[in-house]
């Protein structure tokens, strides 16, 4: 996760009426050192370990043991959402990229400041986003969780056809959350 860069982003926007929070979910890659939660005390313990390790500065909010909030927002392991003053969703992202979030925040603040004056009307839109993936950091996280987390991830790679597919010129390496199919895969030639 991009904890440091998201903390920096939160600090940078704090005086522009942006409130940042980190919602602690289930363990994405449970292992011997940080196991799945069987109680709220398990969740609190792992969340405190995360704060101690990552020095996260944002408010940490724990979801309930059933993941009610996490499931209401789509259950992905590292989503970011931006909600406008009053409650309208402006941004939802399957993965967290601080650079992408920064651009989206600027746009949301611009909208909120100028909406009435310029008679702007919000409309629904979708787009792709991109980031680099720090696989060394990701693997270090798996190792920190324990050997089981490493083995589970390796097994997923071996069984997940999309993850093994060769990169294409269109989209580069495939990652979960990328729905692109080549012409051959989609049956369109």
């Amino acid at each position: 996760m991009a904890t440091g860069s998201m903390d920096d982003l939160a600090d940078r926007f704090a005086d522009r009426a942006v409130r940042s929070a980190f919602i602690y979910t289930r363990e994405a890659h449970p292992g011997e050192n940080y196991r799945h939660h069987r109680s709220m005390d398990d969740k609190r313990r792992n969340a405190r370990a995360y704060v101690g390790h990552s020095k996260v500065r944002r408010q940490i909010l724990l979801d309930d043991l059933e993941g009610s909030a996490h499931r209401a927002y789509g259950s992905l392991p590292n989503m970011t959402w931006i909600v406008g003053r009053g409650g309208m969703i402006h941004y939802k992202s399957a993965w967290t990229s601080a650079a992408d979030v920064a651009g989206a925040l600027e746009a949301v603040l611009d909208f909120q400041a100028n909406r009435a004056k310029k008679q702007w009307v919000a409309f629904y839109s979708e787009r792709s986003a991109w980031s680099t993936r720090d696989m060394a950091q990701f693997k270090a996280g798996l190792e920190r969780a324990g050997p089981q987390a490493v083995a589970d991830y390796q097994r997923m790679l071996e069984t997940n056809k999309a993850a093994r597919a060769a990169p294409t010129e269109d989209v580069g390496p495939r990652i979960p959350g990328n729905f692109y199919k080549t012409e051959g895969e989609s049956g369109q030639r």
Binding site: L9, P77, M79, F179
Partner: protein, 65 residues
């Protein structure tokens, strides 16, 4: 979904989760769902809507692992 099902003990990387997020989770321009959460630092219960009552809310979901 039970707490045991939600808190899986073995990661299997279901691609369906991403489709669920794209197709069934709330979309931009919808009203954000508000649920109660526990502030780790204080133990206080916080309604998510408090986050966006008077400010723009920037919300990241995640875990240590």
């Amino acid at each position: 979904m039970t707490a045991t099902e939600y808190n899986y003990s073995v990661f299997d990387g279901s691609a369906e989760e991403f489709r669920e997020f794209a197709v069934h989770a709330p979309k931009a321009t919808m009203r954000a769902p508000s649920l109660p959460l526990e502030d780790l630092a204080t133990g206080r219960i916080v309604e998510m809507s408090e986050l966006w009552r008077s400010e723009v809310a920037l919300i990241e979901f995640g875990s240590f692992t």
